[in-house]
Amino acid sequence: GESVGLHLPTLSVQEGDNSIINCAYSNSASDYFIWYKQESGKGPQFIIDIRSNMDKRQGQRVTVLLNKTVKHLSLQIAATQPGDSAVYFCAETNGSNYKLTFGKGTLLTVNP
């Protein structure tokens, strides 16, 4: 069936280090991927997205990499800050489907 999953449920890093959060997906028809950040008690906050015709996209301190060959997605956060501490979800959908399918999430903890 269709699924999106994360390799690491928790990630702990030191402030200033770079963070990498990984995500695997199984639906080869997926062509749009989104990373969301969710702080405790709040709704998911859009971070960055990428379409399947790209393999890399950069934002402010964040980079998303897409490897369609192995159905793998990653989120890189540069110079991680305490405010980056949250649960990060990858979500996928495709051009003919409006439903987002979310993985379970990775808890990122940034130590000062």
Binding site: V4, D31, Y32, I34, Y36, G41, K42, G43, P44, Q45, F46, D49, R51, F89, A91, T93, N94, G95, S96, N97, Y98, K99, L100, T101, F102, G103, K104, G105
Partner: protein, 116 residues
């Protein structure tokens, strides 16, 4: 500009009661979505509105759940005869375009529902 808003932020009710959860989408957004999120899990799709009509309600768990969007803006999720298993965070999202998956969904802060 203002984001998606949801009220109430928290709702505690007793088993068997009726509840309504409200969502105000971003102004001008045609599409509106409801998701449910259990503790430690990612959000799960419930229903999608394109304008005033429910284009897909396949995610609603049973007929105790119903949602409306009468004027194509504000939406209300209604749950009848609540059960303890309904306890979760209910999230609303909106996107600019109607239909099509290549459209960013922006989420509200959610309503935490607790059924005692």
């Amino acid at each position: 500009g203002a984001g998606v808003s949801q009220t109430p932020s928290n709702k505690v009710t007793e088993k068997g009661k009726y509840v309504e959860l409200r969502c105000d989408p971003i102004s001008g957004h045609t599409a509106l979505y409801w998701y449910r999120q259990s503790l430690g899990q990612g959000p799960e799709f419930l229903i999608y509105f394109q304008g005033t009509g429910a284009a897909d309600d396949s995610g609603l768990p049973n007929d105790r759940f119903f949602a409306v969007r009468p004027e194509g803006s504000v939406s209300t999720l209604k749950i009848q005869r609540t059960e303890r298993g309904d306890s979760a965070m209910y999230l609303c999202a909106s996107s600019l375009l109607a239909g099509g998956g290549l459209d960013t969904q922006y989420f509200g802060p959610g309503t935490r529902l607790t059924v005692l």
